[in-house]
């Protein structure tokens, strides 16, 4: 007897039962694909934000900088940044490179006497970063914002800061900070624009300053210093390879002693943050996988138990235990494949459909300081689909296999007499 044919017939014979267990598997597979896609989307977005706004693909800075970054170690700088950028951009795998200077300071004015207004200063090169950060696209249009004019004391402030301090375009701000020698330094600057970023970290109290002005403030101009040089790779290059290549270049130049390049993955503070976020995501995924599996296992096992009598009948009619197990296993496998496939397809369609728009999670995320925007955009990839398909099939066919095996061992008389 052809097990396969009988299995198909059994599936067709009891349509409702088939539908019931297939639907359970479909729902579970659908949920898994969607959730895993969302998790992958969150993970990707966070990484992308860090690469785009904070580190670049490769971060070149003084080797001691990261260790002391909490205490504003201005004296660990990269000298001759323009020269270095030229060298970097000459490398084959590099798309472009740009310098950064970040430090803290406080705003003060007549009105703020008796207050301590903390801000972060973000020194960047608007031209060099026009492809990655693209400040122009972040300017809030209603505010009449402009990019800072060259060689001026004009700056852009984040929307968060503008709101907090009631500042608008054209206002002047006074900044107090420290130079590389920890001398007090104060400067008045004019706001030329207000910028909004989806990345919460870029939208807090931040003043965006043209790079040469930042150099002037911290007194880096004499040696053309930068706090870091960020390198953006070409798409077909591995970060690890480029990191090695850049470090080889840095080693040959005595001027860049103590300066090292690290791929994004090796910037430990950010990496450990991402790692933890990943753990949380995996945990969420695992939890949901377990939940979905219970639904599948529960339904499939139930189907087999309900059919113990049928197994008894088959056994009485002379079918061997092995054949029975094979029959039931085949049945379960077919249902599992169909159910998982349908679930994966619907889940994939849903994930891809939602990819450009995403869910709005802004409300739920309020007050949570996690570096993702309020929009959750799923990011589907084939690995997710294959994994869920495999998991759905394996879990449900195994859930069928063991009870079927047990049932086949029961004596026909008992199986038929007993209600399980």
């Amino acid at each position: 007897m052809n097990t396969y044919v009988v299995a198909w017939r059994n599936i067709g014979r009891n349509k409702r039962r088939t539908a019931l267990s297939a639907v359970a598997i479909t729902v579970a597979a659908f949920g898994m694909v969607l959730l895993f896609s969302i998790i992958a989307g969150l993970s990707f977005e966070m990484q992308d934000n860090f690469v785009r706004y904070i580190t670049g693909d490769i971060l070149i800075e003084h080797e001691e900088f990261e260790k002391y970054q909490d205490i504003n170690p201005l004296h660990f700088y990269v000298p001759d940044q323009e020269e270095l950028i030229k060298k970097m951009e000459a490398l084959e795998g590099v798309a472009h490179a740009f310098p950064r200077i970040n430090f803290g300071g406080q705003l003060y004015s007549q009105a703020s006497i008796g207050e301590f207004k903390r801000v972060s200063i973000f020194g960047f090169d608007p031209v060099a970063e026009s492809d990655t950060m693209n400040m122009t696209s972040h300017l809030v249009p209603e505010t009449n914002s402009q990019m800072p004019a060259a060689n001026s004391r004009e700056v852009i402030i984040s929307e968060g800061l503008a709101k907090r301090e009631g500042l608008k375009v054209g206002d002047k701000i006074n900044l107090a900070t420290m130079t590389v020698r920890r001398a007090a330094f104060q400067i008045t600057m004019k706001i030329s624009g207000i910028a909004y970023f989806d990345f919460s970290q870029m939208n807090e109290g931040i003043v965006f300053i043209p790079f040469d002005l930042a150099q002037y403030i911290v007194d880096y101009s004499g040696f053309d210093g930068a706090m870091s040089v960020n390198v953006v790779k070409k798409t077909n290059v591995e970060r690890g390879d480029l990191e090695k290549q850049i470090n080889d270049v840095l080693k040959t130049e005595s001027a860049y002693q103590g300066i090292t390049a690290r791929a994004f993955e090796n910037v430990s503070t950010i990496y450990s943050f991402l790692k933890m976020a990943e753990y949380i995501y995996y945990f969420m995924g695992l939890l949901f996988f377990l939940l979905a599996s219970t639904v599948i296992i529960n339904t499939t096992m139930m189907v087999i138990f309900e059919r113990t009598r049928e197994i008894g009948t088959l056994s009485a009619l002379g079918m061997k235990g092995k054949e029975i197990v094979r029959l039931f296993f085949t049945e379960a496998l077919i249902i599992a494949i169909i159910g998982s496939l349908v679930g994966v397809v619907i889940g994939t369609a849903m994930a891809i459909w939602l990819e450009p728009t995403g869910f709005d999670f802004k409300e739920a995320m309020q007050g949570v300081d996690f570096q993702i925007s309020g929009m959750m955009k799923p990011k589907w990839n084939p690995v997710i689909a294959i994994f869920v398909l495999a998991a759905g099939i394996v879990v449900s066919s195994f859930a069928a296999y063991f009870p079927a095996k047990r049932a086949s061992r029961i004596k026909p008389i008992e199986a038929m007499r007993k209600d399980y």
Binding site: R164, T294, T299, Y420
Partner: protein, 424 residues
């Protein structure tokens, strides 16, 4: 339908018999419910545990039970203002003392802390929220005694400071090292002074360990030209009860003694923490939602299946004279029985799992490190027993099962008796 006397007792024993007859099905469904409830109990216990411990650590080391501020202060707190002050602290302290309320004044101010290479490993500067304290009074409000790793608390009138142990580690600071504090006085000019580290503090509250810079209040008063004013008065209530009720008389008192000030409870002071906690609670409710979903699918599947497989039985029952209502009741009893069993099983598993979580907990140190996750706890998550949740679990298992069973049973009863009996 004929009006028959309901034979509840009979229907009940009938349902029990049916449950016993289909032992495996009963057990499988019940265990699906139990698993869901176990998840719920585990996570509920953990989050509540972290919440409660955070609350305690917040009150004991960070906010006190309540705090008096100038009415303008709270809105501007981000700027650590020293211009919105309490100008008659002595008067308020005395009024509180008359009512036997423990209170301590503090001056909190923002400053740039500057350190130099030698003795420190590296030079640098860092923004800090420093605080001037009246140590005698402060130790009555905050649980700071015995929390020093090394050294002693600063003496009044001396340029001395106690810093949090995590901060000390970050700076490479040791006892006797100097810190330069650069800030602005109450009327706006820059003031810079040196203090010497005389003590290093470790509390169970990571925020305190990370940020504390504590010096004598008289020094701060002098340096910032506060002229006797303070930024806040902290209070401790001996028992943790309904804070709003405890607060009412004090609010009234402050309104009388110094109307320019207000009283805020720790719940408002810890608002950032509570916002995170409530977001986490939303997470819990979504887990409960998932539990419902499993239970829903599990139970409805089972009921559908069992009703479907037992059409003949239903037909027989009805042919033998059982009313539709009685059949319905007996099936609901069955569903309720499964739910109850699942609930009890879930609670037993939950107690087992939480026994470990309450006594040992999970150590997240390697995962979290010194990152700020909002909770005011050390990195070992310990659960606590949330008794109402266990009752809720049993109730949920029971109620949900019964609710879900209604629909398919009603559907099955609509089919005519003959058709039921003809079923395969």
């Amino acid at each position: 339908m004929a009006k028959a006397k309901l034979r509840m007792g009979y229907l009940f024993s009938f349902a029990v018999k049916n449950l016993m007859r289909y032992k495996k099905r009963t057990l499988i469904t019940a265990s699906a419910i139990a698993y869901g409830l176990l998840m719920f109990l585990l996570i509920d216990g953990m989050l509540t545990g972290a919440d409660k411990e955070s609350e305690r650590n917040l009150i004991w080391y960070e906010t006190g039970s309540a705090r008096i501020y100038n009415k303008e202060y709270w809105e501007n707190r981000e700027n650590v203002p020293v211009k919105y002050t309490i100008d008659n602290p002595d008067e308020i302290m005395k009024a509180l003392d008359d009512r036997n309320i423990k209170a301590a004044p503090r001056i909190t101010f923002g400053a740039e802390m500057i350190i130099y290479e030698d003795p420190y490993p590296e030079s640098g500067n860092k923004f800090v929220r420093a605080v001037g304290v009246d140590l005698d009074k402060d130790s009555q409000v905050f649980q700071l005694q015995d929390k020093l790793d090394e050294g002693r608390f600063p003496k009044a009138g001396e340029f001395e400071v106690v810093i949090g142990s995590w901060l000390a580690k970050d700076l490479g600071a040791e006892l006797g090292y100097p810190i330069t504090v650069s800030t602005r006085s109450k009327n706006g000019f820059i003031q810079t002074f040196d203090v010497e580290i005389v003590g290093i503090l470790t509390t169970p509250n990571p925020i305190v360990n990370k940020s504390t810079l504590m010096m004598p209040i008289d020094i701060v008063d002098e340096m910032l030209l506060m002229e006797g004013s303070v930024t806040e008065i902290n209070m401790a209530f001996s028992e943790i009860g309904d804070i709003d009720k405890q607060l009412a008389p004090i609010q009234k008192l402050i309104a009388d003694v110094s109307p320019s000030n207000e009283v805020l409870s720790w719940k408002i002071l810890g608002a950032d923490y509570l916002a995170i906690a409530s977001a986490k609670r939303e997470g819990t409710s979504s887990i409960i939602g998932l539990v419902f979903l499993i239970a829903l699918i599990g139970i409805s599947n089972t009921m559908l299946m069992s009703l479907f497989e037992r059409r003949r039985e239903i037909g027989t029952m009805r042919a033998l004279g059982m009313t539709d209502f009685e059949v319905m009741i007996s099936f609901l009893f069955e569903a309720g029985g499964i739910g109850l069993l699942g609930g009890i099983l879930g609670v037993i598993l939950g107690i087992g799992a939480n026994f470990y979580m309450v006594n040992y907990g999970i150590d997240f140190t390697s995962l979290i490190g010194d990152m700020d996750i909002g909770y005011r706890i050390a990195t070992v998550f310990k659960s606590i027993w949330v008794i109402p949740s266990y009752f809720l679990s049993v109730l949920m298992g029971f109620g949900l099962s019964v609710l879900i069973a209604i629909l398919p049973t009603r559907k099955a009863l609509k089919v005519s008796i003959t058709e039921c009996l003809r079923a395969e």
